[in-house]
Amino acid sequence: MRYTTLFCMISCLGCGIEPALFSTTDNAPLPTLPSVQPNVLAGYVTTMPGAEVHLIGPSGQPVSDSVNADEQGGYTFELPGNTDFSGLRVVAQKGTQQYWGLAPVIPAQDSVLNGIRTVPMSLVPGMEDLSPTSTSIAFIVLQRAQGTPLAADTLLSASASAGEALSVRPEVIQFHGMLKKILAATDLEADGIQPFLTEWTGAPGTSVVNAEFLKDGVNYLDGATLSTTSTAFDEALEAAAVSLSFETCEAEDWIRVVFMVNLSEALQDGNCDPLNPYLWTKPADGKQVYFTGGIHVDTPRCSADVTTNCLDDATADMAHIALGAFEPNVLPMYDDGTHGDPVAGDGIWTRSFVMPWIPMEDQEGVSGVRIGYKYTYGQAGGLWGDAEEWPGNSRLLEVADFDGDGMVFRYDYFGDEATNKDKKNLLSFSNGGCGTNKWPEEASDNCHSDVWENGIGFVDLCGSAEAPPVPTVAPVTCGEAAQMMENE
């Protein structure tokens, strides 16, 4: 018996039976869940069958390919079901005629088991059928919100108020009249210049009217002469917007931070030298780009003595975990046209976060929330090896919204060690590099600082016209801010 036991042990140990034996201890397999089904936004523009219909995001950029309305004027947009959309507007145009409408807030599907969900434009009062009326309501609400996407409830009440005001409130009636006269100057059949700028967001100091359209004059004031500027129209719109009373919500203390990274070959690094993004990782099937990071130690932290312009421990911890806590290959970035990624398959990967915000932009000597981060190109759950941009070190970002668009948008090239890499930064001395990326207060002419957003108005210092597409995300809504507060 002893010998038999010994024989069994010898013959079994290490010889290859183990995989079969070990597999008996496996957990019950998880189901393979389906991908989330899309949301479909559906509406009509019955007076414009065949019109080209655009779906525009809060930044003024398209979030989807345009579609053509059918013979009944019906149109649909298929949107990824895993992405929240707010601040969307629909613009239908045919010839030189153009109608606007406000799309409802479209939350992501709540279960991957759900089928395709259709979200009708009619959820927003006055938007069922695009028309001059829906256009006026859209302009007034956008002007009133000053470019900030509205929460679902606020959007509904604002649109309803604007709709009612079209027939009762003098300021609104006056504006609506001007708009109708401008639209009357358009032609369904003629090619030409559109009257309104689809990229208009409602931001203060901007006009929705296309100056080119008014170049030859349009008599929208019922005056003796043709108007060639939009000044009166803009003032009327402003007055109509101000006359409305609905609450807009600003998500104080929170801000949208968007990271985009370009993983392509033939790019140039911060020194304008050829950039090899695959210096430390190899291209392979099944790999993708991930983000990881955390709250930097130089972020102002609250204490008994410091109670303002700082992060408390709970918020810092939550943000640190949300950023991935420097665990590699866990938080995927997206290049599939979802989650704020504007263009699928262009090699530019996107991920956005709701981050705590210290409003340091107008305060001397105040630092913002500071983030260390880096990108990896690997397999889900994989280790650092054959995945990271470079061994050790990380990138730096200070959450500062100097352009006031409610977002911090950082655009990077994968593997570029001559931009915002914290240590062993390869920016050359002649370009102001000193081997270390400094925070602004430590920087000098001979020791650069590259820690702020650069996405909007991105300028390639090497002369390339390449600029990142604008991410299809909106500033943080109050709902999201409330959710973050709950998470704390």
Partner: protein, 646 residues
């Protein structure tokens, strides 16, 4: 005095290493061999191997080239009961003309640098055949073998002996033992690491399968057992059971690299119930193939021997982890894409000279199920049936045949899956005259109508016509006939008859002139679709060959021979015609007539440790096709080999 001390020291210094060296060599066997091959043909193909890799482009195959290889074998007897061995063998493929190829690939194309062709052409030495063999002091255990093996302890139906070129690439752990003083009961068990290439769907254990995102091949094994029971000297019963087991990682497991759910959240970021990281990765079974045979070898009398073999094969696959290669790879796939169970039976008897007149009789019945699956069975260099078959090399019960990495003069093998029939043989031995006459009738368990060859049964794309193994090409650009693996057709109602005569006579002249001959007739008929006669195939193969050889010296033997083939094939290839609703309306099939003549010259010269062989043939082929242009071949080719072992 000083001089004496110096001399003594010198003697000691010289004698100690001499003694050690002697002791060392006692424990070692060193063997070496050098092999050289010359291959030529009147075409413009360059390389050292007539038929290379049918899938991956290789840089070895070609018809004109000469190259050498060297092998050093080492067997060390570490102690009385412990032995270890290994071989160092150079990679075959470098041409003599390559001269200084270093193994580097610095350029995208071949150039004169010596750094453009890579390791295959640099004749590097590779470690092969590493093993350790122990005879432990454990009762009932004869030995334990760890490492390389040719897997010959099983059989061709289950785990076949590995083909020559891969002979000891297989590695595993094996135990052989016995019970009983007279070894009444013997056993062998083995666990074998599966080759990542060829044992499995897509000819792999996961690599390259479109459904396997992250192949996991390092835990793929085959398990084999063999039990021999010899109750008396009149019979032996042998049970062989094998299991080929391909595991893949559970890609939904959050601990797996590349997991679908690394954060245990779904596409929406919602938590997945039951999902939690625990740092262990689950596995799924991609493919299982279990094959068992029970064989009885009986000798009830001195003149009668009987061999009975029954087999069962089972195949299970997970379509989530195995893409449908029948559908995606044009029917070129080594398994039926389905879970299958099947059987095989073979019965043989031999009456050895019952009339004491030099005449012996043999008979064989075979019945192999249409779903027989043996992914790890013998791929070539074996034969499970006595018949000469349609391809004379051999018949093997697998779709995983390996008619590749061979030269033009080597044997070909055909799949006998689904074969059902019998063979009768009469052997005559009258001293200087020997002959063997065969008659075989085959019908097919694969006969069926409307078989799904689009998504389930691989037809290997080319299923019609006698296979021309003399002028074969994998992609069938030369209309070479049926793929030897093609056993499934959409419509088949087929039977085959084969008659063959082999004879040899030795004239008592000089050292003995040997005259040998072969005649073969095969009638292969397939009604194909039962809804029309327009597609009925009628193939007749007539082959005759004769040769004369003479051993001029003890070392030198020369043979001159010739073979003539006449193939008449009615409705060999074409298409079934269908109406608008898919109904069969007829067939558009064409006849083909093939004439081949081959003249051969063979020389063998064996002198002490030198073995030299030379084979030269002229091959003429005329293929007369009803619609397509006729084809003519005038091929002259030769192969010479020289081997020295020491």
């Amino acid at each position: 005095m000083k001089t004496r001390i110096l001399i003594l020291a010198l003697v000691v210094c010289v004698s100690i290493p001499a003694t050690s060296s002697e002791a060392a060599t006692e424990n070692f066997d060193l063997t070496g061999s050098i092999y050289t091959k010359w291959l030529y043909r009147n075409n413009d193909s360059q390389g050292l191997l007539s038929y290379g890799n049918p899938f991956w482009p290789d840089d070895i195959a070609g018809d004109n080239g000469v190259g050498s290889e060297f092998e050093l074998g080492i067997v060390g007897r570490a102690s009385k009961h412990v032995e270890a061995g290994a071989r160092l063998k150079s990679r075959f493929g470098g041409l003599w003309q390559d001269w200084w190829e270093s193994g580097n690939i610095k350029y995208d194309e071949e150039n004169t640098s010596g750094d453009s062709l890579g390791m295959n052409r640099s004749q590097y030495l590779k470690l092969r055949g590493v093993y350790v063999r122990v005879a432990p002091p454990i009762p009932s255990v004869d030995w334990i073998h760890v490492g390389a093996s040719d897997l010959s302890m099983f059989n061709s139906w289950t785990i076949g002996k590995i083909r020559y070129i891969d002979r000891d690439n297989a590695n595993g752990s094996f135990v052989q033992g016995h019970f009983g003083e007279d070894r009444t009961f013997e056993y062998q068990v083995g666990i074998i690491a599966l080759p990542k290439l060829w044992v499995g769907p897509w000819w792999s254990t996961g690599v390259g399968d479109p459904n396997v995102v992250i192949p996991f091949m390092s835990n793929d094994y085959a398990y084999g057992t063999r039990f021999d029971y010899t109750p008396s000297d009149w019979g032996t019963f042998t049970l062989v059971s094998t299991l080929t087991y391909d595991l893949e990682i559970d890609s939904a497991d959050p601990d797996a690299v590349g997991s679908l759910y690394p954060n245990c959240t779904d596409d929406l970021g919602n938590p997945i119930p039951g999902c939690a990281k625990d740092n262990r990765v689950g596995t799924f079974t991609r493919f299982i193939n279990s094959v068992s045979t029970l064989e009885a070898a009986l000798e009830p009398t001195d003149i009668l021997s009987v061999n009975l073999l029954g087999g069962y094969s089972m195949q299970r696959l997970d379509p989530n982890l195995t893409a449908n290669g029948v559908e995606m790879n044009d029917g070129v796939f080594p398994i039926v894409f389905a879970d299958t169970d099947s059987y095989a039976g073979r019965g043989r008897f031999e009456l050895s000279d019952p009339f004491d007149a030099g005449i012996s009789f043999r008979g064989e019945y075979f019945n192999i199920g249409q779903h027989w699956s043996s992914i790890f069975g013998a791929r070539r260099e074996a034969d499970v049936l006595w018949t000469d078959g349609l391809i004379s090399g051999g018949q093997l019960p697998t779709l995983n045949l390996a008619n590749e990495f061979i030269d033009f003069d080597e044997a070909w093998y055909e799949s006998c899956i689904g074969w059902h029939g019998g063979t009768l043989l009469t052997d005559f031995d009258a001293g200087s005259f020997t002959s063997s006459v065969e008659y075989t009738f085959i019908t097919y368990n694969t006969n069926a109508q409307n078989r799904d060859t689009d998504t389930t049964y691989p037809d290997f794309l080319h299923a019609d016509g006698f296979t021309d193994t003399d002028l074969y090409d994998y992609a069938n650009t030369t209309d070479r006939g049926r793929d030897p693996r093609s056993v499934y057709r959409e419509n088949q109602d087929r039977n085959t008859q084969i008659a063959a005569l082999n004879a040899e006579y030795v004239f008592d002249v000089g050292r003995g002139i040997t005259l040998d001959g072969k005649a073969k007739y095969a009638l292969d008929q397939d009604d194909r679709s039962n809804l029309t006669t327009a597609d009925d195939y009628n193939g007749q193969l007539i082959q005759g060959g004769v040769g004369i050889s003479y051993p001029f010296t003890d070392e030198l033997d020369i043979r001159i021979g010739g073979v003539v083939d006449r193939w008449m094939e009615e409705n060999r290839t074409g298409v079934l015609l269908r109406g608008a609703d898919g109904e069969v309306t007829g067939g558009d099939y064409n006849d083909t007539f093939t004439d081949k003549e081959k003249a051969t010259f063979t020389l063998r010269y064996n002198f002490e440790a030198l073995r030299f062989g030379y084979y030269l043939e002229y091959l003429h082929k005329e293929q007369d096709r009803e619609v397509l242009p006729d084809q003519t071949y005038h091929v002259i080719r030769s192969k010479a080999t020289m081997g020295v072992s020491f």
